[in-house]
Symmetry: C2
């Protein structure tokens, strides 16, 4: 049996030091949901970068460039992390350099070890679970959180994926974070939107009028695409 | 209204940087439960130290000395972190130097800022809530966790205290960790013992035959004592 573990913050990831695991990075609102959406609509690759300057530089080199900080598109960038901006024909076959407040940083931290890094969201949840079940590797679900703090939406995703994996009978959990996430998800699963409204710090995003994005990102299983990190680029897993 | 927040790991505490808050440190199994028990039985003070050497040195200076690592009493020490060892007449009016795997480290980290540091456990839960409600300060519940990782028992305590504080109407929570803890507690509250057996990584402690200690530490409200940190020493709050 393989293990499933959940890391609640980039600042805790060094405690999950396995070398031969699969790390699923999630930033539900909205970086990883946007990436999955972009691949679904034909994007060729994402380069996750940590700074605005790197994204701008790659933009000058002919990449599409995206930049988000504190939920808003950074001035001078065409793309932020709204999934809706990654649905147009413009992004087809293009390479996109992206920096976001939480998600791209988590991807870069996850990439430092010798693990396989995949991108998760509710949009490709079941596809991920199916893929992971076939790999016979330990799984670490890595929540991007909010500025290194625990957040409810990424933990809900972690709980949903933990449940799917445990239900296959091929995984076990000795990880209290995984078990707590699973409990929280089982409490909220019937209506994720109203659950988050009742118990999450929605002010983080609320003032940005992101209701439409939030609803979009909470949809389950609308695509089978799974982005995987290869040589510093996210590409479609085939 | 004052805020209540929950920190899941010593490694995240720097994100909770308030200067004028009350920090409640908890290590349910078993350091803070043992400390509360000791004060209930007449101990004069605890000096939380980080290393075995410091505890030994203070032992040589005439303090009672306690040392625990990975759940076991360190060789050469009379006390570990079992509450039952702090019930004897021996500890009355004595000063105790203690080092433990998680709890004393968390206390020392909490003491670095300009916050007030109190010691929490299920044993003095309601007394703590009553005291905190009168202080008109923001509250940070600081879970010692297990080797910097999230653990279920400390989060259950955090959820129980969060609930009591929110129910007074004098606190609010914008903190997803506090809200998740509160949910987990509400799921498990009816029988904490069987809840922990079903979903916590009990192997951490299970092999040490700590059933009796675990049962003791999960008792609610058996005392009103509240330890407070003053000049590097825990003393009884009066």
């Amino acid at each position: 049996m393989n293990s499933v573990e959940v890391c609640f913050s980039p600042q805790l990831f060094d405690l999950f030091g396995r070398k031969d695991s699969i790390v699923v990075v999630v930033d539900v609102f909205r970086a990883t949901s946007a990436m999955v959406t972009a691949f679904q609509h034909g994007a060729k690759s994402f380069i996750p970068v940590s700074t605005i300057e790197e994204a701008r530089e790659l933009g000058n080199q002919g990449f599409l460039a995206g930049g988000e900080r504190n939920g808003e598109v950074v001035e001078g960038f065409e793309f932020g992390n709204s999934p809706f901006s990654y649905m147009s024909a413009k992004i087809k076959d293009r390479e996109i350099a992206l920096t976001t407040t939480n998600g791209t940083r988590a991807i870069n931290i996850a990439s430092e070890g010798a693990n396989t890094v995949l991108i998760g969201s509710f949009l490709n949840l079941q596809a991920l679970a199916n893929h992971l079940t076939l790999q016979k590797k330990n799984v670490i679900i890595f929540c991007a959180g909010w500025k290194n703090r625990f957040n409810m939406e990424d933990s809900l995703f972690a709980g949903a994926l933990t449940n799917l994996l445990l239900n296959t009978g091929k995984f076990h959990s000795d990880c209290d974070s995984a078990n707590a996430s699973s409990l929280v998800y089982r409490t909220g699963r019937k209506n994720l939107m109203s659950f988050l409204k009742s118990c999450s710090h929605r002010k983080r995003l609320g003032h940005l009028n992101l209701e439409k994005d939030v609803e979009y990102c909470l949809q389950r299983d609308i695509t089978n695409v799974i982005p995987v990190l290869k040589d510093g680029k996210l590409v479609l897993l085939r």
